[in-house]
């Protein structure tokens, strides 16, 4: 563990740096992490010799073919990720564990949250939350994940991962739709419902569907994978439900130069959404959408598009599920990305995971609780240990005002990238994410080479889709880190 975490002095030091500088400079005094290195260190190729040896040991029992870097977490700090060979990289994307580390490695405030009696009990007396919640479960929820619930959504169903957050949300949508078809919550299941469902046939197991969009990513279990449309390799050989896929707008950049064309493209997509809801052969119960399609290539759409989607789903009595697994918890400069849309009525369901470290879905309409107990149920229904970590993350976000901070750092970083794009034509194409915090990406003609070269100069950046470079820094990413990133990117494109 980094030394700051052992010393009380270190904790105090971190607690004192509440404000950050708004001027772009390498300002050590304003650093959130006083023990962060001044910049990356690259000592060996990655993986280096020590890592290679450890990877081959691990590979004997655990598939390592997707391994990106073997990490020494105890030597990682703040925005910097370390390995066994003494390499220390600025962690700007997958980095942060596929966008799932919000407030830095070895954050002292999170460490303090691991030392409580509540945490020890959650770890060793793991409850079946549906049957035997602890007496303080309500207070853990209310002081934690419900305090940041999206506007209008005051209920939660907790789960363990983004995939099962989405799948339990889909189950809620199916039960709600079936209940309305049946004539309300008090109408009993028919004997045909009951006998047919035991052999997986309609009407008990109906051919209902969830609509998703081209290039969407919603998870990799069977229900969520049926809505995932990102890459064939995610889906091949796995049976899938016959559910509809609507086109997601393909916008042209820069947005202000293509306003009319983009508006027409969004209109076309919305018309197709409505047509599919009306005509698809397996009744559509919900539409699921990411505020920014992440795995699928960092595809954005306008607030107007999402407002239109809300109207269409309302008009057709279909639920709108917003998948904030990757976009939630501050990275777009709002706590929830869908706050950018100014909807007149909230989404029906919002799912979360990743940076929350806990997972689940928020909802507001009480009718989305199924009409009987044990319909939406499983053994653990989440993990209170992870709910306690989410609460500590929320407190850290509030203490350091990290959502506003991320909006400002994002604007600063975007401006820097615009300067680079102008200086190096053709290298930073379709730069996108303006006004969306640090949720920034662009298309690169030699994307894979750029990612590889990144590691050599000390930055850990990631790709998505076919040609996009995407940035997913933590919320504690600061302007001096942005400067290092911009300098490194310039070094890469010059070389």
């Amino acid at each position: 563990m980094a030394s700051i975490l052992r010393s009380r002095a270190g904790v105090r030091a971190a607690a004192q740096v509440r404000c950050f500088s708004s001027t772009p400079r390498h300002a050590a005094a304003s650093a959130f992490f006083t023990n962060e290195p001044a910049g990356p260190t690259v000592k060996t190729a990655i993986p280096g010799p020590k890592s290679k040896e450890a990877i081959s040991q691990l590979d004997r029992v655990f598939d390592t073919r997707s391994l990106n870097m073997l990490v020494d977490y105890q030597k990682s700090t703040g925005n910097y990720i370390a390995d066994l060979d003494g390499n220390v990289l600025l962690d700007v994307y997958v980095f942060a564990q596929i966008a799932s580390i919000p407030v830095g490695y070895n954050n002292p405030a999170l460490l303090a949250a691991t030392k409580t009696t509540d945490m020890a009990s959650a770890l060793i007396n793991r409850p079946a939350l549906g049957n035997f919640p602890s007496h303080n479960w309500a207070s853990i929820l209310e002081s934690g994940l419900l305090r940041v619930a999206p506007k209008g959504l005051d209920q939660v169903f907790t789960s363990t991962t983004g995939s099962d957050a989405n799948e339990t949300a889909y189950k809620a949508a199916f039960m709600y739709y079936a209940q309305r078809q049946r004539g309300g919550p008090d109408v009993e299941f028919s004997s045909e419902d009951i006998s047919s469902t035991m052999v997986n046939q309609a009407p008990g197991s109906p051919n209902y569907s969830i609509m998703s969009f081209t290039s969407a990513f919603h998870g990799r279990l069977f229900g969520s994978l049926s809505t995932t449309r990102s890459k064939a390799i995610h889906k091949l050989d796995i049976p899938a439900f016959d559910w509809p896929r609507a086109p997601f707008p393909q916008l042209k950049y820069p947005l202000d130069q293509f306003a009319a064309e983009n508006a027409a493209e969004e209109k076309r997509c919305l018309e197709e959404v409505e047509r599919l809801i009306k005509e698809f052969h397996n009744p559509v119960t919900a539409v699921v959408v990411e505020p920014v399609q992440s795995e699928g290539g960092d595809n954005h759409a306008s607030a107007a598009f999402f407002q239109g989607l809300r109207e269409i789903t309302k008009r057709n009595n279909v639920l709108l599920i917003v998948d904030e697994v990757q976009t939630g918890v501050g990275a777009t400069g709002k706590f929830w990305a869908h706050e950018h849309w100014n909807l007149s009525t909230p989404p029906d369901i919002v799912t979360f995971s990743k940076k929350a470290q806990a997972a689940g879905y928020y909802f507001g309409n009480p009718a989305l609780r199924p009409n009987k107990p044990y319909r939406q149920f499983n053994t653990w229904m989440g993990d209170p240990a992870r709910a306690l970590i989410f609460r500590a993350i929320i407190e850290e976000i509030e203490r350091l005002d990290l959502v506003k901070h991320t909006a400002q750092t994002g604007d600063y970083l975007f401006a820097g990238l615009e300067r680079l794009a102008e200086k190096y034509p053709g290298q930073f194409n379709n730069l996108r994410g303006k006004g969306q915090g640090t949720f920034i990406s662009w298309d690169s003609p030699q994307r894979d080479a750029v990612l590889k070269r990144g590691k050599e100069v000390g930055i850990n950046i990631g790709g998505c889709g076919e040609s996009a470079v995407r940035l997913r820094p933590m919320l504690v990413f600061q302007k001096h880190h942005a400067d290092i990133l911009l300098e490194s990117l310039e070094k890469i494109v010059k070389s």
Copy 2:
């Protein structure tokens, strides 16, 4: 937290009681937990007034209709579960959190495991294990969950719950089957595979199936729910795959009196399994089975049945997936329940969760690693914090020799139940689980009344299927607890 957990003296005291008495008596000296109460305390109806108030607070934000008891975990110890109203019950089933607490509430050895640097790092620096495992992940696996891997299975894929352990196992089965159909791991996907899977159609998203049994329970997400056949309420209104269901043997008890009929019943079921493998319209890639069908009513089958199932699956090139989510980790008197079968070749895949506190699947055949990376992948791929807890559980099981202990306590308890069954005819029907540790159950003519009355006399027991009472005590359940349980059951049937 119970006081023993704060004091080092308490930890030492617990560590000293390594052996347990083999004579049936209320032997305080041999108790695993020195601070356990001598017996249950029932002060109020459950829920009592304080619990009622807390439940209504919780219900505002979290569905409480399946709530069984609001628990004060910090006042719970060993085999005893406490609530806010001063009630302390002997926890013999759901109890133990739907069979998921192995070594007692507030076990000091588990508490010690929460205090390590590794645990703190796992909690605050949660890795994406597929991309960025920690440098000591191999050693955490090898010193923990791989040390107890079923014979012949030396590889693991980690996940977060029983449902996703089963579903990722199913995905492995589908990819393995498709690879053989395609002609081996080096044959590339066709362009038709790639284009069809993006719209969820065959051949890229094939109509393959997983076979399960009547009354099976394998989870509640879309793939696992398609193999679950326990109760309609688990399945209604949720779309399901068209997968086959084979009959699970319905044995008659006592087994020695119905040997010939039971053998014929098992033969009939096996024949139907083989017929379905050969004839079902959606190709069967794997058969999934529980060693004891738990949620479905505690249905047992003989070792010969499972040996036959292994032969049939081998002969037809279909995988055998053994779902040990509820049966694993010692409760049947073997670490893995399928060890009772003495198979000549191991199952292809064994899934685990619950008492392991971590989840995933074991396998041995290297070809069950998909032919390319990122095919079996997700963001977190499990939780190292939970893997560390499983390691501490394994150490505690070994220290106290709890598997052998559970076999012996089970025999003692079963003999006591046989005496009760003889004394109270018609009250303990189809008593089952002989020689299966504490994995014991029976059918009761007034099952729901028995469960309710249990709480009034201080024992927390559970039901399954239509009329079964099932026992799922922890591994630290001792003979003096069995005596209390037997006395309480006698009190209930007499009243």
